[in-house]
């Protein structure tokens, strides 16, 4: 064999090493590595994104002040202009060592980029998938994205990991006929993806593929699962629902399992680790930040204070006024940038003033808490104390995150679809002055009328401006 050609052999694009005993046994610890990217230690998590960024975290802050090893990017966030125009993300020229996806989104150099179909909590679509296309929701509405276009995006955008398309239905009830369709389509779409990989040119290699495991019972997708074992070039599995995990064939046990199923609490994460998930996407981190909640749990749990019988809360609600003089960090013993630089009093102020920085700090803190939570989980598995630690965790903490009291940023069209006759999700920007006007009217005299007029003028001013969260108070010097 010509040795000069040896050096041209592609380096392994992705490797997953299981560090605990047997691949089949759970929980397990491992390490997913891709050259030039941060390794993901498993069990672990990647951050969820919106339009290419982790909400409220600018890429410079992400690179400097988080440990986030990777992000999940849904293709539907980038297709607003299609099909009339080619979406800009496909047009941006790549640079050496800088893929279109990374260059467009300004994601840091060492962050692992995982490309999938839909947002982590997809907006339920009124359209159904077809044999050739799946439904997406962009900032301009619902439409179909062709499966072949999505497969082509893998080589054009060059993510580090590509989730193969699947005919996923996000409703709980579905007919047997529909289940058959899901299986047929998903299997065809996966075949096309794998063929595209085989056919890929060397200068635009096809990224490592994660094959979808469908969100239906294992026995219903038995054939589909056994088909997977015939393919040697599947690098991992994308799990849409952990109920399917027991059906994964032994020969695929050593593949990393990436979950797109949103856990509702840390307790759910623990049970999904027991079920065999390696890498999580966790939308509740961002939901907590938007709600003004600073996560406050740790794993293994601290020993309970002896006289306390009530469970500990999973988060601190910083929107509550009781924090407004507290000089404590967001949560004790946290070394995140937010806890380093600000107090609960300042956080309470930012949230009550609806300043954007409040959500930034909470995102940094909540991602840091989750980073340590998973580090604790790996240490516990390694030390063999896992089962006892899980029991202690479930006993110590409340089952769910606290109910949200903070108002949060304005909700955008692409994040949510309103039903018929539903109340407005976003409050009125200048409600404060309305109340003043009422108060003024109660005071009586001409002032009330003048106030009402001032309110009206304010509203006109605000209507002309594009809403950006935190823009509800007039700036002034």
């Amino acid at each position: 064999m010509d040795t000069s050609r040896l050096s041209e052999l592609p380096v392994e694009m992705l490797s997953f090493t299981i560090l605990s005993a047997a691949a089949r046994a759970t929980p397990r610890i491992g390490r997913l590595s891709v050259p030039q990217r941060k390794a993901i230690l498993t069990p672990g998590f990647v951050a969820t994104t919106s339009r290419g960024i982790i909400p409220h975290i600018a890429p410079d802050v992400q690179a400097k002040h988080t440990h986030i090893p990777g992000v999940y990017l849904p293709i539907e966030d980038f297709l607003d202009k299609a099909p009339k125009q080619t979406p800009p993300i496909y047009n941006i020229p790549p640079l050496p060592n800088l893929s279109r996806l990374r260059r467009f989104t300004t994601q840091p150099d060492d962050t692992l980029l995982i490309l999938g179909l839909r947002r982590p909590i997809p907006v339920d679509a009124p359209l159904t998938n077809s044999n050739e296309a799946f439904t997406i929701y962009t900032s301009v509405g619902f439409r179909h994205e062709k499966v072949d276009d999505y497969i082509e995006a893998a080589t054009v955008l060059q993510p580090d990991i590509f989730i193969a398309p699947a005919d996923v239905v996000y409703t709980t009830t579905r007919s047997i006929k529909r289940t058959e369709k899901i299986l047929d389509r998903s299997s065809t779409w996966l075949d096309r993806t794998l063929r595209a990989q085989t056919d890929a040119e060397t200068d635009t290699p096809f990224p490592p593929i994660f094959a979808p495991i469908l969100p239906i019972a294992p026995e219903q997708q038995q054939l589909y699962l056994s088909d997977l074992t015939n393919h040697s070039n599947i690098s991992g599995l994308a799990i849409y629902d952990p109920i399917a995990l027991p059906g994964i064939p032994d020969s695929l046990a050593s593949l990393p399992r990436f979950s797109l199923f949103p856990p509702s609490s840390p307790h759910t994460i623990l049970s999904h680790i027991n079920a065999g998930i390696d890498i999580f996407t966790i939308p509740f981190i961002g939901e907590a930040s938007d709600a003004g909640l600073a996560l406050s749990f740790s794993f293994p749990p601290p020993s309970p204070s002896s006289n306390s019988t009530t469970p500990e809360p999973l988060a601190i609600d910083l929107a509550l006024p009781i924090h407004n003089t507290s000089l404590e960090p967001l949560s004790p013993n946290c070394d995140c940038h937010a806890c380093d630089t600000c107090t609960r009093a300042y956080m309470q102020h930012l949230l009550s003033a609806k300043e954007m920085l409040g959500w930034t700090f909470l995102q940094l803190h909540n991602h840091a808490i989750m980073h340590r939570f998973f580090a604790g989980i790996r240490a516990s598995i390694k030390a063999g104390t896992w089962e006892a630690d899980v029991i202690a965790f479930n006993e110590l903490y409340e089952a769910e995150l606290p109910a949200k009291t903070g108002a949060g940023p304005r909700i955008r069209g692409y994040q949510y679809r309103s039903g018929p006759g539903e109340k407005k999700r976003n409050g009125k920007g200048y409600g404060n002055l309305d109340r003043v006007a009422v108060a003024g009217a109660e005071v009586g005299g001409g002032l009330g009328a003048e106030l009402a007029e001032a309110v009206e003028q304010q509203d006109v001013v605000m209507e002309t401006a594009v809403d950006v969260p935190g823009d509800k108070i007039e700036e002034s010097g």
Binding site: R51, G52, I53, P55, H56, I57, A58, P59, D60, V61, F78, K81, P88, N91, I92, P93, L98, R103, F104, T105, T106, D109, S139, N324, T325, T341, C342, T343, A345, Y346, H349, L350, S352, A353, E355, M356, L357, T360, F361, P409, N432, L433, R435, V436, V438, A439, E450, L451, E453, A454, A465, V466, D467, V468, G470, D471, I473, E475, S476, G477
Partner: protein
């Protein structure tokens, strides 16, 4: 109408040192360094506005990286939220928001103009209803200073009686100007920490140059560490604005910083420096960022416009802000296309544009200062206007007229 009494000058020494380094040989521009309790600040300077103790989504580390060493907080807003008690408890605004550099606080009088219908001015102070709970409140010179003492800002502003410059009522204007002088005396008397906080007076008098002159003379006698020219940027025409600035700077001593309040458009900054002003603040660069607008040497770009959808250049070629700088250069390398994708949809879009706009304003003043130090400010002005108005003829008349009074023909 009450005449003004003899002044009771500021106790000395002030909590600042003003080093005048150079004067332009043609215009009235000055380059200086202002040494404040939280570090040195180069003048001329633009100060971004963190109204509610936060600069619109930026971490203070990001603000630091724009080069900002002096930013504004607002007394009126901080007095309502988090309130004086909390500020006293946490030990002032620097600690509260984690900002290591300097802070300047407005007294809250600007809010009287912006919320005039909510307020009633008497000799005692300003009565208004709290926008938070509708309760009646009274802002007096003493209370404003007490709040600013609790905030602990490096530069504090007197409470003044601000009315719209365009008001035709000369009697009310005269009253407001003289009342502002009387309130200055009350502010000086109420100021608890002159050794660590610098109280600036605010020249009033609307567009009436005689009133402005009377106010300058009365206030200069009070010998405050710095002097602000207030009541402008209230919708007056720019020619009148420039006349007021030039009249005032001609009457003010050389050895004190001069702050023109509420000014922020790049061409206004450059012309005002030529007329002898040193310090400026305005919410425009940060507010306009949130509406998707980027400030550049060639004008303002509205990045929400679809024409930027496939524009893969930086906001401004050669810009050294963290948003525009390339990845190799340690920046984010954000493209106009990506900002078009983000702005008004994700808060990070606002963060990235705010970084750029604040940097642009600070960098503009840095370059102005350099040119004054090297005595090539007149050339700088020509270059600046030629870039902003590349087709020669359409340069604004007000700027031509104002610059002509200080020896520059555009």
């Amino acid at each position: 109408m009450a005449e003004l009494s003899e002044p009771d000058p500021m106790p000395r020494p002030p909590a600042l040192k003003f080093d005048l380094l150079a004067k332009c040989s043609v215009t009235k521009a000055r380059a200086s360094t202002l040494h404040l309790p939280h570090g040195a600040v180069p003048l001329p300077i633009f100060m971004p506005v963190a109204t509610q103790a936060s600069l619109k989504g930026l971490t203070y580390e990001q603000l630091d990286a724009t080069g900002c060493r002096l930013c504004l907080n607002n007394t009126y807003h901080l007095g309502l939220k988090p309130g004086q008690e909390v500020l006293d408890h946490v030990g002032g605004a620097h600690k509260f928001q984690g900002w290591k550099h300097n802070i300047l606080t407005g007294s809250g009088s600007f809010q009287m103009v912006s919320l005039l219908k909510l307020a009633k001015v008497t000799e005692e102070g300003v009565r208004f209803l709290s926008p938070h709970d509708g309760s009646p409140m009274l802002l007096t010179p003493e209370h404003s200073i007490s709040l600013q003492n609790s905030i602990g800002s490096d530069i504090i502003m007197q409470l003044d009686d601000v009315i719209a410059t365009t008001s035709p009522d000369l009697e009310r204007m005269t009253e407001a100007m003289r009342r502002s002088v009387r309130w200055l005396d009350r502010c000086i008397a109420a100021h608890k920490y002159p050794e660590r906080q610098n109280l600036f007076c605010i020249i009033q008098g609307g567009l009436d140059l005689n009133l402005r002159q009377e106010c300058c003379e009365a206030m200069v006698k009070r010998d405050t560490p710095g002097i602000a020219i207030g009541g402008l940027s209230g919708g007056e025409d720019k020619e009148s604005y420039c006349k007021v600035v030039k009249t005032c700077t001609s009457l003010l001593p050389d050895n004190k910083p001069r702050y023109v309040m509420g000014v922020g458009y790049p061409e206004d900054l450059v012309v005002s420096v030529a007329l002898g002003a040193d310090m400026f603040d305005c919410v425009w660069p940060t507010r306009t960022a949130r509406f998707g607008n980027a400030v550049t040497a060639h004008g303002v770009l509205n990045l929400r416009n679809a024409i930027y959808g496939n524009d893969f250049g930086p906001i401004e070629e050669g810009c050294k802000c963290t948003t525009c700088r390339s990845r190799e250069d340690g920046g984010m390398g954000a493209t106009r296309s990506y900002l078009n994708h983000l702005v008004s949809k994700e808060t990070v879009g606002a963060h990235l544009l705010t970084i750029h706009n604040v940097f642009y304003q600070l960098d503009l003043m840095r370059r102005v200062r350099e040119s004054i130090l090297e005595d090539r400010f007149p050339q700088f002005i020509h270059d600046f206007f030629n870039k902003l108005y590349p087709h020669g003829a359409n340069k604004p008349d007000w700027a031509k007229k104002a610059l002509a009074t200080v020896g520059i023909v555009l």
